[in-house]
Symmetry: C2
Subunit: 356 residues, 2 copies
């Protein structure tokens, strides 16, 4: 297998993609034996799995390699299992948020809603779409575990991996719940927002996948502090970059309309910073527009201006820089295998580079 | 541990209840460390787990005992893990069906909706309740696996158990999806309804838990045909009994309003039989009333009369009797351990006895 040091994600991606495709093909056959009407559900599940940057598998894989693990198929499969967990999180998240699109395509519940409409079935198409998406997400969650267990790694290794694997799932669901709470409490203060990011992004996307890789390689004890020191700041920086792009990103690069997070009213850190820093009049105008689905380009421009002028954008960029530096420093640990260290350094850039 | 042969479910129940309580207490502590606002979510999860007849754990336990397994805590924990899977299924099912009550109490999404209302939070209380219930169900599904893996049984045994454990989860979700399809297609023909029952009830509630017990005891190969021969007819009979109670049951015994399934418009087998057997006028009147949430006592009485007069009720009772007999015959296999055989015979009675 060739390895391009400049692209530690794409190196893992093709192996992970192969594991996902083989696993879904096996399960598709099993489901179609139960009933051919299940095909659209598997199609929707597969479509959701086809997208994505495979960031969590990449961190899991390089966490394993950093612990001295070899490039064997078992770790590709175990890493791929995280994509099924992520697919569940996204499918259910879209139902929870009533988001109709995901990566520029119809969300899973929308796909099934459209199937209902096309088929002329009775009852509410929206209810059907939502119900089907809940079940498809459940399948993804169950299959995540199945693929992990069927990865072919040693039973003892899989048992050692359970501590981060279990924690990861509980934490991401807790983080989502806290996120929902923040939205309805209209809180969105900087501290509260950072806590949600800690669980929903930093631990879930970066730290726990690294811990999993280390644990599978039997190195949880000595390496997890290194991976925490690297993963937590990187994970927050990654989410901050995403939040900044959600407000300032170029639609051509993000695949989402400009200022989409503002239209959705997401209580991200850049919003929290803006609300804490802007003057009273700007703050009121910003709050009034936030979450208005009909925001036009001028309104988005105005809100961007407020976020920039009050220093919220700069504060976020400063945080990203700080966190990126912290992550880099953590990589200086002598415990890490050399090629993995350079891949992990590249992942910092891949996850946090400015694209606007 | 004392063992009352007349009550194989209650024998298992206290051990299973203990495992559930200990596991939830550990996870509650972990969640409260993340944030004290998570307490209502854990309360709702625990409330859902507090109910239930522990039928699936009982079948798993007796499947293990029938295979010669000893009465050790590991099998109680592994059996208890099935209750978390079931809690996920029920919580998500109530969201999917918009059912506001479960066992006479508010459904999980209703509990969280009420929390939203009491707290005066912003946004839609119904959306919050639904979103929170999706996440709480996800937690239950993840925890089911965690408890299974942490049961303390040997790693090799747990690996052997994965085949039925994995199949069970895929089948129940597929069964739920097919059930949703039947509802919106307005199908509900006898054959289609029996297929849903096969996956959603017979395999999920009885056959797979028995298979799991046998596999954990290293006896999947020789015992699973026996358990299939016993479990599939019993599972259908169990669901049929439930369906009959949903139409004819006494509210004092079922904990649900009389004729609740008719009000909800559930396409159960007794409904399918009625629609196939009743005369044109009765059929039309039955269909018109089916699914009307405002059905009064007279209308329920009239529908019961139709189901009885056309022979649908008798046909269901005949099926139950046939299936019960088939299950009993399967128990004559010489492969089963003696005390388990008598417990499994008692479970037939417990699961299918007339209560109306």
């Amino acid at each position: 297998m060739t390895f391009s040091a400049s692209s530690p994600v794409s190196f893992v991606r093709s192996a992970v993609d192969g594991e996902i495709a083989r696993f879904v093909a096996r399960r598709r056959a099993q489901l179609l034996e139960i009933g051919s009407e299940l095909a659209p559900a598997v199609d929707a599940l597969e479509a959701m799995l086809a997208g994505g940057k495979r960031l969590r598998p990449a961190f899991c894989y390089w966490g394993w390699r950093g612990a001295g693990g070899a490039d064997v198929p078992g770790i590709h499969a175990a890493a791929a299992s995280l994509e099924f967990l992520q697919a569940c999180a996204l499918i259910h998240d879209d139902v929870i948020d009533n988001s109709d699109t995901r990566r520029g395509l119809p969300a899973t519940h929308k796909r099934l809603e459209e199937l209902h409409e096309r088929s002329g079935w009775s009852g509410s198409a929206a209810d059907f779409g939502r119900g089907a998406a809940i079940l498809i997400g459940d399948l993804c969650l169950a299959w995540s575990e199945d693929l992990y267990q069927a990865s072919g790694l040693e039973l003892e290794a899989l048992r050692a991996g359970r501590t981060p694997f279990d924690a990861m799932r509980t934490e991401v669901m807790a983080g989502q719940y806290l996120d929902m709470l923040e939205q309805v409490r209209g809180g969105g203060a900087v501290e509260a927002t950072l806590r949600v990011m800690h669980y929903k992004a930093a631990k879930y996307t970066v730290e726990r996948p690294l811990h999993l890789g280390a644990a599978l390689a039997g190195r949880h004890e000595d390496l997890s502090p290194v991976y925490t020191a690297y993963g937590l700041p990187l994970g927050v920086a990654f989410q901050l970059r995403d939040d900044v792009l959600g407000v300032f990103g170029d639609p051509e690069q993000t695949g989402k309309p400009a200022g989409d997070d503002l239209r959705e009213g997401k209580r991200t850190l850049i919003v929290a910073e803006t609300l804490e820093r802007a003057g009273a009049a700007d703050r009121a105008g910003f709050l009034r527009r936030l979450g208005d689905p009909g925001l036009d380009t001028d309104a988005v421009e105005w809100m961007r201006g407020v976020a920039e002028d009050c220093g919220a954008l700069a504060a976020c960029e400063r945080r990203i820089d700080d966190y990126v530096e912290q992550a880099g420093t953590a990589l200086e640990s002598g415990l890490l295998d050399g090629s993995a260290r350079s891949a992990l350094a590249d992942l910092v850039v891949a996850a946090t580079a400015r694209k606007h």
